[in-house]
């Protein structure tokens, strides 16, 4: 089989995984990558089908970006936080489908209120 040399850029952890698999099978890194690509492109196989994605990792807690946001928020005064939050809400209000209503809505059940609130939140 004629071979062509290509240069690709892939995440280092993928290279490590390929190397580990190669060592396990007594094959070269190139063989592993060629075999994987061959399976991926096999005729009759829908693109991506049969190729399993690595399981997503879910962190307990807030995660890096939300944690950073919270720490930045905590550095503000309560007044600054309320102002920022209300300004954000007023921007969302500009996209609402209806103008502000004078309304009184009475709910018999708390669950009904939660459902209503969820629908209202989508009204942008």
């Amino acid at each position: 089989m004629a071979l062509t040399r290509v240069t690709i850029t892939i995440p280092p952890e993928l290279v490590d995984a390929a190397d580990a698999r190669a060592a396990e099978l007594g094959r070269s890194r190139s063989w592993i990558l060629t075999d994987a690509l061959g399976r991926y492109l096999e005729p009759g196989t829908a693109r991506g089908v049969g190729v399993r994605e690595p399981p997503a990792t879910y962190e307990a807690g807030l995660g890096e970006s939300r944690q950073a946001q919270l720490e930045a928020d905590l550095a503000l005064t309560p007044e600054e936080r309320v102002l920022i939050a209300e300004q954000t809400a007023s921007i969302a209000d500009l996209r609402r489908r209806h103008p502000a209503r004078d309304q009184v809505i009475v709910f018999d059940r708390y669950g009904d209120f939660l459902q209503w609130r969820q629908r209202e939140a989508l009204d942008v």
């Binding site: 807690g61 807030l62 939300r66 944690q67 946001q69 919270l70 720490e71 928020d73 905590l74 503000l76 309560p78 007044e79 936080r81 309320v82 102002l83 920022i84 939050a85 209300e86 954000t88 809400a89 969302a92 209000d93 502000a100 209503r101 004078d102 309304q103 009184v104 809505i105 009475v106 709910f107 018999d108 059940r109 708390y110 209120f113 939660l114 209503w116 609130r117 969820q118 209202e120 939140a121």
Partner: protein, 156 residues
């Protein structure tokens, strides 16, 4: 034109002036405790008596919710939730999921916003009020737990 820069201060000032018995809950309370999470509504848990509901309705009528003065205080006191107005929208609760006014008032913490004192739910009660099956509430509980870890349970 309100003399306050925030809806929250405006609503709380009217409630205080009317001597309404209430405790702030929901995302607005979370803002005082430590986040900038936006919300369209101001949740207040009130003492569920017709007399207090009357004070609450009178106060909210002054915030632009004209229909509040036509609402029946007896009904507001008897139902779990009454939504009043739209901008600001105030959700008047007689129960915050599982938390009642008497216990919330005992543990409430007073924050001051634009010079207006606001009785605000404790972190414990805020967490308790968000033990629903809503994803947003689950996310809020994570934030509240982290606020408690980072800053403790005192206002400031």
């Amino acid at each position: 034109m309100s003399e306050y820069r925030t809806h929250l201060a405006q609503v709380a000032a009217c409630l205080n002036e009317a001597r309404a018995r209430y405790v702030l809950f929901g995302a607005a309370a979370m803002q005082l405790w430590g986040t900038t999470r936006a919300t369209r509504d101001i949740d207040i848990l009130i003492e569920a008596s017709p007399a207090n509901a009357r004070r609450v309705l009178a106060a909210l009528a002054r915030t632009g919710a004209g229909l509040a003065k036509d609402a029946l205080a007896e009904e507001v006191a008897a139902k779990p939730v009454t939504v009043i107005g739209d901008s600001p929208r105030v959700d008047v609760l007689t129960v915050a999921w599982s938390v009642r006014y008497a216990e919330a008032a005992k543990a409430a913490v007073t924050f001051e916003l634009e010079g207006v004192p606001i009785p605000t739910a404790s972190l414990d009660h805020l967490v308790e009020s968000k033990r629903t099956d809503r994803l947003q509430d689950a996310a809020d509980v994570q934030v509240l737990e982290e606020i408690r870890r980072l800053r403790g349970s005192e206002p400031g």
